[in-house]
Symmetry: C3
């Protein structure tokens, strides 16, 4: 694949420094890029050393001054580079879609009343319940199982062995990676003092547009009402989201995070890896939760919290520094006690 600097500038909404007719044949990271490839430099560190990349062209911030290389100047080099990557690596459908099975594979099994859009691909060994609606250009990989009355929007990509329970609703351009489970029953039981009685979960999961769900996630349906993943949310692998959780727009949830039932998370939140959140909390907008934090209380808008129990991140950094010094502090305290004993005796 080939593209000129001029075309890259058009693709990324950038302006050009140097030879706009130069042809670029690939995109690669700063350290590895070759003379016919383009890379990007967003940080001041990389910009300072821009002559050290082997790349023939570099995407840089608008304010960056001239270099000897061809430059494409943009608002956000990282974002611009994602567009160039998408040009060089257009997604193609795996070979199991291509044999005799354009569109709906004869080896898929589909319940009554499927409404299926244009250009949608259903792989072999996909099972679909009744009254399901699939948008245009949806891709369902092998082993995907979809329950009754599920709705899936346009341009959704569901990777192999994903299970979507009945009545789940998936927006447009959603990606769900392999092995994830959407809409399983929440963990709700009524104890009678001896055993637990299952509470039937009559709710559902709703996933809005432009969400990406990592591999082997579990997102439970609402006990009543819905578990709601709002527009633009991204989850990493093995994220657990319990019944009736709400996750706000463009929030990001890193691997192995667990969110307990009925907790609400605002928009633009960042939950770092392995954090755990108790149930029925309200986490505000623009909150950052540190890695492995154990969150037992609600967190107001804009806070950065860490630790278990959660505390302001800066305080947690101090606490973290003290923990390894506890044995020493204990010794100091004991010594001090003895010294005071002595003073009191005199």
């Amino acid at each position: 694949m080939k593209i000129s600097i001029k075309e890259i500038a058009e693709l990324t909404g950038g302006s050009i420094h140097g030879d706009s007719s130069k042809i670029i044949c690939g995109a690669a990271p700063f350290e590895n890029a070759k003379i016919d490839e383009i890379t990007f430099a967003g940080s001041t560190g990389l910009l300072k050393n821009i002559d050290q990349t082997g790349a023939g062209a570099v995407i840089v911030p608008k304010k960056f001054k001239a270099s000897e290389k061809e430059l494409v100047l943009v608002d956000n080099p990282n974002v611009a580079f994602t567009k160039v990557l998408a040009f060089f690596y257009p997604s193609s459908n795996p070979g199991y879609f291509t044999r005799k099975n354009k569109g709906i594979s004869p080896d898929a099994r589909i319940g009554d009343n499927l409404k299926c859009g244009i250009g949608t691909l259903i792989a072999p060994f996909v099972a679909i319940g009744k009254n399901v609606i699939l948008g245009d250009r949806v891709i369902l990989h092998p082993g995907v199982v979809i329950g009754d009355e599920v709705t899936i929007g346009d341009d959704v990509k569901i990777y192999p062995n994903v299970t979507i329970y009945d009545r789940s609703s998936i927006g447009k351009r959603v990606i769900i990676h392999a092995g994830s489970v959407i809409g399983s029953d929440g963990f709700g039981f009524a104890p009678d003092g001896i055993r637990y009685h299952k509470i039937i979960h009559t709710g559902l999961v709703k996933i809005e547009d432009d969400v990406e769900i990592g591999a082997n996630n579990t997102i439970d349906r609402g006990t009543f009402g819905e578990t709601l993943i709002k527009e633009g949310v991204k989850t990493d692998n093995m994220v657990h989201i319990a019944h009736n959780v709400v996750i706000g727009e463009n929030s990001v949830i890193v691997a192995q995070v667990g969110i307990s039932g009925s907790t609400t998370i605002g928009k633009n939140a960042i939950l770092a890896g392995q954090a755990g959140l108790a149930g029925h909390l309200k986490i505000g907008d623009n909150v950052t939760i540190g890695p492995r934090a154990g969150i037992a209380k609600s967190v107001p808008d804009g806070s950065i919290v860490s630790g278990a129990p959660e505390m302001p991140h800066r305080l947690w950094l101090k606490v973290q520094n003290i923990l390894p010094k506890l044995p020493e502090l204990k010794k100091t305290l004991r010594n001090l006690e003895k010294r005071v004993d002595k003073i009191e005796k005199n």
Copy 2:
């Protein structure tokens, strides 16, 4: 669906206050219920505000005094409500069971000598090994894979893409949610100083009656002997249970808990989310383990422990309160040292 107050009282073993002929058309939570629906109020908080629900009828504890609403008085409103929910939301089988494939789908692949009960449904794309025994009314969803010599009791429901390794034994009325893996090899290797030699796991997994396993769990087989999940145990999503673990009757294990090899847990235990248990421990009956606790020692019957290392829960609450104050305490200590220095000098 419709049901009279009289019938609800019969269903739940309750007595009636008000008009027993009143017809109820649905069940909903306290805040959302409408005039033709029933809800429940178990807590004193809800009971105090019983006139604030829009519900036409309320399930309440036996001792509750009259209100203007129709009441069904029962021992345990929560449990009674699960029965009403089960009436209004009878489970139905997804549409992929209903086309041409009553009973065993022609698109399932089954090894020799299957013994299969009455009313059992095997979906398309289910693969079953040899000498498998399935009870009556078992439901195997698409993508379920069952190894040789597995036994599954009556009324078991196994959701899509669950894998059950050979020789596992599953009791009656067990539910296993999507993506869970039962009977994989335990993590056992013999090191020779350079590399690790696989220890063949000759044991199995036994799951007793009325167990519910969440989505994407992993339950390893015994190295020798069995990994045993006793009657009535409930696990949430992404629970890891290692080889030769025993979990006692009616214990409850919340999401992302990990239990290491050969640890035994008593009955009626509660393990909160993301807790981790070391191997070869003995956790007693009626133990509660706090969220994210790291349990390195055995825990006697009836204890409530939290923290890492584990400690009595009340002590942990105090420790949790002190952690954020450590920087302040350190400062106090340093000041005190200086003051004592001064005193000593004089």
Copy 3:
């Protein structure tokens, strides 16, 4: 199955004490072994009590002195016993392989240009992309999905419902347990201040020879370049390995560990359960990381670290001992303050 002591000695490279013609019919653990079975005793504890096992023969270390039982004396009894177990429990293929479908099942769906070795078994409901290479004696269980241009070496065993994304490369004798996902996209997005733009992951996953991956793992592909699992690595269940991670030879990763992007782990490392590692770290060779440790900094060769933040393991043991005493220490400090107040006043 039967085997003589002489044959066991040959199998394990051991020497014999007692009757070499004695016939052994099984292998079992020390406590459970019967008179016609063999067991092993590697620890001094078991060796001291060797007469208490019911076993008819025992595998013991070379230096062990005579007992009344038949003995096989070897360098490493644990390793020798794995060989005896492998004799008594040869792996057999589940019954879903055996009906009409020797080799490649007619119920598998395979893309163009498959290169498939001798003796390879492909179960029903396996989907394979194009240009895939499978070695000799590979076993693909039902529900396995393999993307385009994947390469799999000889004697690999992939359990049900595993997903392997395109271009992944799997070495020889690798075992991957059910539900694991290899090669999903890394968690990489470029924020523009409002939303996140997906970074196309052009890299891949490479798994070298003799690796065993537990159930429900997730191993992400490289953003660029590869995520690399080197020879002999063993992972337990639910291990998360992010993009561009490198794991050195014969390292062992226990259940529910999470390793963030671009972190490198040396050889012979042990990562205990539920540990979490930040991104871009360098963990040295022969490092041991304690259970539930939160690793935020690089760790030099040969270190044993625990806790969060990580610290030398011995220090962590001391810190762990002090944590439950913090309330008491706080009280001591407060008292001391008052005493010093008093002294100062006088």
